[in-house]
């Protein structure tokens, strides 16, 4: 285990045989023809890294050949890719670790990217761990910041550590590619540029279904989308231990309803059983970036902060004027959330309904 230390490894120079590895890749996650938003966010990030390195952005799109897959290849170019590796085979229709890993390691070994990025989703984490082990290279999970060390062109992957109490920057030295996963909504969604052009390289791996042990029997789509709603909500009202008791959770739900927003919570509330873990915002929960984040009775532990600090506007309400949350909120209100929340619900309700009558 490492204790806080001075930067090291930046002077390291890459051996010649690894210098042939070039370009920044994103493995584009698509299931049933729908591309995961994190892949587009990563293309924006890959674009920045590639521009610093003076190399190209590659997007790898895997699946069964279909018009939907072609559309995704076009999206990848619009969002920043110069080259799309379109890998198609009927056996890739549904995600399965073994064929995806085999195909990806082949494509990496053939085209030799220096950086490979994946979303830290159930698919991305499952696949990244398998690929990195097969290639015997370094993989850094759940990065919150990616950069290039100018001295030696290596990837500086920063992530929270020790349960989110500290950040650490991790490098992969004498191994290529350098791999990293990034959670959804940690990076900004880039603007799509339809004027961009790129080339598509078609790859047909010719898999044999009988060689693949695992079969997908069915897929049961979620009926309830509460997770997605929290992750993509424009407005989130979040509660921390400062709410005192579970009965007071009603106050955040009331305000969220008036604002048409969603309710988030800190980890201690999930642990206390006040809310289900699909509402948890933070390092071990969801990362969110709403237009407005109201933090009620939240002290501002880093565990929570890393999940919400990219929100456009953060209003913190806390009785303690020295609470850490005021260090990174945009607006602070020292006071009792238990009385201010209902007052906010009333006041917002009045202002919004007045306008409805006027409109």
């Amino acid at each position: 285990m490492s204790e806080p230390s001075k930067p090291q490894g930046r002077k390291f120079q890459l051996p010649d045989h690894l210098k042939v590895y070039q370009n920044v890749w994103v493995i584009v996650e698509q299931e049933r023809g729908i591309v995961h938003s994190v892949s587009l966010e990563l293309l924006g990030e890959a674009r920045k890294l590639a521009d610093k390195l003076g190399v190209e952005v590659g997007a790898v799109v895997l699946g069964a050949d279909s018009p939907a897959l072609d559309r995704i290849c076009g999206d990848a170019i619009g969002f920043g890719a110069d080259i799309v590796y379109k890998v198609t085979d009927p056996a890739l229709a549904d995600y399965r670790t073994d064929p995806y890993c085999r195909v990806m390691t082949d494509v990496v070994n053939t085209h030799k990217p220096e950086i490979v990025l994946l979303g830290a989703t159930t698919l991305g984490r499952d696949l990244a761990g398998a690929i990195a082990t097969t290639l015997a290279t370094g993989l850094t999970a759940d990065c919150t910041e990616l950069d290039i060390y100018a001295d030696n062109r290596s990837l500086a992957a920063t992530r929270p550590t020790f349960g989110g109490t500290l950040l650490c920057t991790i490098q992969t030295l004498a191994y290529r590619p350098q791999m990293a996963t990034v959670r959804p909504r940690v990076m900004a969604m880039p603007e799509r540029d339809d004027a961009r052009s790129g080339r598509v390289i078609e790859i047909r791996p010719d898999l044999r279904e009988e060689d693949i042990v695992t079969k997908v029997l069915t897929f049961i789509a979620d009926r309830e989308q509460s997770e997605a709603q929290l992750a993509f909500a424009d407005i989130i009202v979040s509660a921390g231990k400062g709410l005192g008791k579970v009965e007071n959770m009603k106050l955040v739900f009331d305000l969220a309803r008036v604002l048409g927003g969603e309710v988030g919570v800190t980890r201690p509330l999930v642990q206390a059983g006040w809310a289900t873990n699909d509402r948890q915002v933070g390092q071990t929960g969801k990362t969110v970036r709403p237009k407005l984040y109201i933090a009620a009775g939240i002290s501002g532990a880093i565990q929570h902060r890393v999940g919400m600090e990219k929100s456009d506007l953060i209003l913190a309400i806390n009785t303690d004027p020295n609470a850490t949350i005021f260090d990174f909120a945009h607006l602070g209100l020292v006071g009792d959330a238990l009385t201010i929340l209902p007052a906010l619900t009333d006041a917002f309700g009045r202002r919004l309904s007045v306008n409805r009558m006027a409109g």
Binding site: H36, T122, T140, F162, D234, A343, A347, N355
Partner: protein, 283 residues
Amino acid sequence: MHIVVCIKQVPDSAQIRIHPVTNTIMRQGVPAIINPFDLFSLEEALRLKDRVGARVTVLTMGPPMAETSLRKALSLGADDAVLLTDRKFAGSDTLATSYALTSAIRKLAEEDPVDIVFCGKQTVDGDTAQVGPGIATRLGFEQLTYITKIEDLDLASKEIVVQRRSEGGVQVLKTRLPCMITMLEGTNTIRFGRMDDLFRAARYELKTWSRDVTGAEEGRVGLKGSPTVVSKVFVPKPRAEKAKMIQAEADTPDAQAAAAIDAIFGAQPKLADDLLARAAAGL
């Protein structure tokens, strides 16, 4: 059937504090626990043992003090326990860790072939979720992560049917043993140990294996065997500007709420328009 459950002893991360002056981690007095995610996998292994009969071996890599976590697992019903401990393992990243653990699983398999390896979904201290897939890849086992339910296990045909959480839904997968499974949290509740297991756990003679015992190559463990290096550890920078504190005209909730709303709409005029438009549309 032989099941190996990999567990990790972790500091209770909810209780870690940073020293305000030196910015170092204050480990003193932080209790060590079994990684909470591992308990869902351990419980599932014990349920399989109850259902179809199995020998459950718990395996951990860590310092000698990790023994307490192994004894805890034994007291819950695990049959055997192996502590993989060696100074040479110190500083291992996930690639080196999965290599070391795999060397121990291979050694266990020499005596009694391993059908299922369970790992935690991820740890609460490292949060990588990489060691389980690393072990599966090295062993050539089918990889089943984020499992919510084991629907069926047929020992004769060695077929297993599981439900796997994926983005937007659940995959029902059918595969063959051997496999590596990580259970999703909340899928079961860890049992209470029985009194006789508690006594057995206290008396149990742990297998303590060093690198030499498992035959792990020296160059592939520890810092030497780790492709990643930590180049910097730091406390997150506070935002350049602290929060703008809202001053209400009176010390009443209504005045504070009114001032807060003015401040919100002042900072984000577009948000006010959006909200008003939505309200006007009756949403």
